[in-house]
Every structure is written in C-alpha cells, then in structure tokens.
Symmetry: C2
Subunit: 224 residues, 2 copies
C-alpha cells in the first residue's frame, strides 16, 4: 500500500471566512493553480469519478488531490494507487466541512509549483460544506441516481452554489425511480446557470465530457 | 394533496444540550411517549422505510412522525398520505441537525396524548446529527447499499451512537460492490452492541423484522 501524507486539520481561527477565501483565491491565481471544490453525499462516487477523470487528464495538465474525511485514509490511497498523481489525506477530526483556512492547511502540504489543478474532495455531506467558501475557483457536486431526483428540492443551498452538477450512477437508473428530466428542472430552479453532466464513473460513460469541461475551465481561467 | 403542518424551527438558546436532552427524555418517559431518532445520508430511504414500517405497526401502537428537512414538505405529505398517521414537517432553515430544544419545538406541535411512539426523521446528513442528543430513547440509522460498505470507517461517530443500523436497498446489491459481511464487521468495530437489520423498503423484504424490533423496543421501555 502506498504511503500517504495525512494532515490533521485544525479548527480555523479566522473570523471572516469570505474574506479569507477571497485572499486564498487571489494567491492561487498568482501561482496559476486552479482549485476545484468537489462535494456530495456520502457514497455518491466522488473518488471513483476523480480517478476516471484524472486518468483522462493527467497527461494534459498537472493535477493534485486533497481527500477530506473525518477519519480513514482509504480515498487518498485509492487515488494515489489508481492515478499516480500527488494525493494527500485531510482529517477533519469530526468537523463536517472545510473552510478557506482549513483548505489552506491542506495546500501547504502539497507541492504546488507546476501544478495546474488541485481538486479538493470535501467531506461527504450535502448540507454544511455548501455554507463555506473554500477559496475554490469553482464548486462542483455529484448527485447519484440512488439518492433520488428530488434532492435539489431538499438541499437547495448545495445546488445553488455549484457551477457543475455531475449525475453519477446512471447505469442503475432502471432500478430506481429517478427521472433525469425532472432532476434537471429542479437543478435549474436552484441554479439556472449550472452545467449538468450525467455519467457512470464505474463504466466510464460520460466521463470524457466531464474531463473536457474541467480542462476547458482550467485553460480559460489560466488565460484570463 | 393533504394539508400538512409545517414548523419553522428556531435556533436553540440552551447552552447545555446534553442536560436538555436528558430532561426531554424524562418528560417523555412520564408521558409514555417513546422517541426514536432516525438518521441517514440524503436519499438512503428514510421516508420509504418509515411508511412500510408504520403500516405494519399502526394498528398495534399509536405512532406520530416529525419529518425534518432544510426545505420542502414532500416527506411529511408522503407519510400522511401513505399511512394516515399524524405527521408534521420541521423546517430547519439551513441548519444541519436537530438538538433537544429543536426536537421539543416539533413535539409541542404534536398531539402526544395517547401516542406511544414518535419517530423523528432527522436531516439527511451522516455527520452533524450524530453530535447532538435529541432526547430520543434510541438512535437508529439507515445505510443504503449504493453508499458503499465502507461508511462505518468514514463516519465513525454516526455508527457509534446508533443502537440500530438498517441496511436498505439490498435488492440492488448485485449492481454495487457492497459486501454485507464486511459492512457488518465495520459496524461492530464502531458499536459492538448495534443491531443490524438488512431490508428493502421498496419491496418490503426484511421490514417485518424491523417492525418487530421497534414494537419490542417500545413495549419493553413502557414496562420498565
């Protein structure tokens, strides 16, 4: 098993997270590092989606991953083993989200020189992470088919703050009452500008479009 | 569509939630009302499981349900329509959990005289609700197969505080990498005394055992 750096994240001391997040965003802009904040419920498929996407992109841009979890380091190990890229584990020690200062604690443990894209896999939680700006350029989320098409109705803030909604596990749609058109319309209610990309991380279906979206986002941001 | 009472829950002013929860538990004991706190990730199947279970029990004991959600009242309406029992919706207004005081705000809006069992469907979240004692006699949770068998490793507190772990959506096990024996052993790591009941709320498989467990829990508590 690969040896993975595990960072025990401390509670933030900054009072103004929004200002701190803006500062972090600015600093990362100066260094040419695009930060993506990826959120979802527990078990929606964040790690599997990342592995597929990273393997399509890693020869085009340099990527690093920070895996946040309350406990365990299985995800950082999985990413490292399946993609070979720089991957660290952040332990939140019971905390249900990451803010900008906590994100910075992770970034301080990455080799950022030459890195184009850092993906932060946030704590599996559809509620709290949506309330805290991490300093990321963009927020993305995964909704998986077994969770149900009504989630944008029940977790409005999460869907409002995300620029990209990935609908995962579309291969099992026949076994669940999940109406993708209804789901799209609920997402639009919360965020008319959100991009929606259906995928199956397990088989790879749709992941190419996701990789393209991400590559394009990073390139556009770098040249602006 | 049924008209459902929707309660906008206010933030608690009590500083000592543990003491407040003990007080609430005591009060409910005096009134003969058993409170069950049901938790899970978003979309694990709490409402469907409740409907199945309540329909097996409603002629034996008197049950009421409080459906907590950040927004929407779809769940309380569903429960009411499918079971006919007393059902109210609690809006947490963005708050990610319920504590004892917030639970009390809900209970104040129920007709408790003659009610044997109140089930609180907590906010869909595997992190924060585990940190707050609601005043319930027992905590139960649902883990659904699509979320993965490793969840007890990643969300240790939730599994530690639950007396009952319901494993839902076992009908789709063939389509997911979910090892139920491995999952049982992870659950035991967190809580050796936890009862584990596999079910499929959609088809009803296993729900009889769940209903029996609950009926037995309420009866034993009433006579002690």
């Amino acid at each position: 098993m690969e040896r993975i750096k595990v960072i025990e994240i401390k509670k933030s001391v900054f009072e103004n997270n929004d200002r701190d997040a803006d500062n972090l965003r600015q600093e990362l802009k100066g260094r040419g590092v695009y930060l993506l904040n990826l959120m979802s419920s527990p078990g929606a498929g964040k790690t599997t989606t990342l592995i597929r996407t990273i393997n399509l992109l890693k020869d085009k841009i340099r990527i690093a991953v920070m895996e946040a979890d309350i406990d365990s380091d299985v995800d950082a190990v999985k990413i490292k083993e399946a993609t070979g890229i720089q991957s660290i584990q952040l332990h939140t020690g019971g905390m249900c989200h990451l803010d900008a200062e906590m994100t910075r604690q992770g970034l301080d443990n990455l080799e950022l020189d030459g890195t184009d894209l850092v993906i932060l896999e946030n704590v599996g939680n559809l509620v709290c992470p949506a309330e805290f700006d991490t300093g990321a350029v963009r927020n993305a989320m995964i909704l998986s088919v077994p969770e149900g098409d009504d989630k944008p109705l029940k977790y409005p803030l999460m869907f409002s703050v995300c620029d990209l909604v990935i609908i995962n596990k579309i291969d099992v749609q026949p076994y669940f009452d999940f109406d993708i058109d209804k789901c799209r319309s609920y997402i639009k209610m919360r965020n008319p500008a959100a991009e929606v990309i259906p995928i199956c991380a397990k088989t790879g279906e749709g992941v190419e479009r996701l990789a393209e979206w991400l590559l394009n986002a990073v390139k556009t941001w770098k040249t602006n």
